[in-house]
């Protein structure tokens, strides 16, 4: 379970997040949607402290932290209990697919080398890239890189996986593969927060959809509630005709 309470964040005096509350139960998949610049990435990056929040509380499992009093040790602990899948993959360029997964297992989780390799191979297999294990990121297509990124996150067995638009840097034909893998993760009840522009995908996999605008959670609820019967005018405007179209899809 993870919980954000009253998250505030500003950049150079400009408030970006204005008191965000977000709760993700164990095994739940939460989709975060909203217009560009709403602060979705920033909110996600505050969870693992890639951005330092100004104010707020974070609870992960048993541990609860006050952002204003957080220590470097807390930050390391939070990062070791979360994993992130990035829009631009962020694979280590100097490491092979296999090493991308084993490195954090060995250095952060203190696995033995054998155990790390075993886990890495298992997860590469799960994303269908066992035969690419010795390839460097530059030798992999975008879709393959992202699948390695997902395998790396899975291998860490985190409390929560944070996805920041995992498919928006991919060619259209690769998007489906990656979404398929994320869907499977969601079905395996691995706690996830997914920032996405893929509304149909959100409708399909999310247990809960959160609509973020102007630094606030404007609307949240089941995918049906938020995507089909939005109440806030901002959600309506963002979804445009999506809500109507959904009638035919579902």
């Amino acid at each position: 379970m993870i919980k954000l309470q009253g998250l505030y964040k500003s950049f150079g005096g400009k408030t970006i997040l204005n008191g965000i509350d977000l709760e993700v139960s164990k095994g739940e998949t939460v989709a975060v949607i909203g217009p560009s610049g709403a602060g979705k990435s920033t909110a996600l990056r505050c969870i693992n402290l890639l951005e330092k929040p100004d104010k707020g509380r974070l609870t992960i499992g048993e541990d609860s932290y006050d952002f204003e009093k957080i220590t470097p040790k807390d930050i390391l602990k939070i990062r070791q209990s979360t994993a992130m899948v990035f829009q631009n993959f962020s694979l280590y360029e100097n490491k092979t697919a296999l090493q991308n997964i084993t490195l954090p297992l060995i250095k952060a989780k203190k696995y033995s080398k054998e155990k790390a390799i075993e886990s890495a191979l298992e997860n590469l297999k799960a994303v269908g890239l066992l035969d690419r294990k010795d390839y460097y990121p530059s030798q992999l297509s975008g879709g393959q890189q992202q699948r390695v990124g997902i395998a790396r996150a899975l291998a860490l067995k985190p409390e929560v996986i944070l996805f920041d638009e995992p498919t928006s840097a991919l060619d259209p034909e690769k998007v489906k593969d990656v979404l398929e893998i994320i869907k499977r993760i969601s079905r395996e009840r691995i706690t996830s927060v997914i920032v996405t522009h893929e509304l149909e995908f959100a409708m399909d996999v999310a247990d809960k959809v959160v609509f973020l605008a102007d630094g606030l959670v404007v609307e949240e609820g089941s995918p049906r509630e938020v995507l089909k019967n939005p109440k806030d005018p901002r959600t309506l405007r963002f979804l445009g005709h999506f809500a109507d179209k959904l009638e035919y899809v579902i």
Partner: protein
């Protein structure tokens, strides 16, 4: 070339080459290795903006890049004994050379570290690595790989700069040549001969550079990727 000249060239070859093997090459290798170590420490400290130390290293780079190496060599070998610091000639040379390499190479490496994309560090710390681990395992290897050509420039410069050691009584190749010139009065051929040997050493390093670059390039071929 007269047979007398040819004779001088051939007979002097071992007399120049042996000091080369004895002093020039070891001085170059040891000073470069130490210099590189200094450079990495200085570069990382400055990138991480570690207080005081960072300021101190900036001062160090400023001084060593801004003064002639010959003057530094003289201060260390002839100057420091005045305050009771007697450093023998070989260590003096190594200190001056490695501090020089350290100052230049630290700037090269620092630039290269800053050029490694931020997403590489984020990818590492988000997986629970400490900032130091991400620097050691992810950022530095990429940064150093990217500045191999520039580092080899410094390396090759160093081979030539070791000739300055002649000024503090180290009998390296250049001083050996000067000695032979003093008795044979053949400056032209002998200095060309020693120049040729320096060229030989530098060329060997250029080949080493090609080899190092080849080894460090993670295959960048896009083929096979679907």
């Amino acid at each position: 070339m007269s047979s007398r000249l040819l004779d001088i060239v051939i007979k002097s070859l071992p007399k120049i080459l042996i000091p080369g093997l004895k002093y020039t090459i070891p001085l170059t290798l040891v000073s470069f290795a130490l210099g590189l170590l200094i450079a990495i420490i200085v570069a990382v400290t400055r990138v991480m903006k570690i207080k005081v130390l960072s300021w101190f290293f900036r001062f160090y780079v400023w001084v060593f890049r801004g003064t002639p190496m010959l003057v530094q060599l003289f201060i260390i070998f002839y100057g420091l004994p005045k305050i009771g610091l007697n450093i023998p000639r070989i260590p003096s040379a190594i200190i001056a050379f490695s501090l020089n390499v350290g100052a230049y190479a630290s700037e090269t490496i620092r630039g290269s570290v800053l050029a490694v994309s931020k997403s590489q560090t984020e990818g590492a710390i988000a997986c629970g690595l400490t900032l130091w681990q991400s620097i050691v395992y992810i950022v530095l290897p990429q940064a150093i790989k990217n500045c191999v050509p520039a580092l080899f420039n410094t390396f090759i410069s160093l081979v030539k700069d070791t000739s300055l050691a002649a000024n503090i009584t180290i009998e390296e190749m250049f001083m050996a040549t000067q000695r032979i010139v003093a008795v044979t009065y053949e400056p032209l051929v002998l200095y060309i001969e020693v120049a040729f040997i320096y060229l030989l050493f530098s060329t060997a390093l250029s080949y080493l550079q090609k080899f190092a670059e080849g080894r460090l390039t993670y295959r960048t071929r896009k083929a096979d990727a679907q």
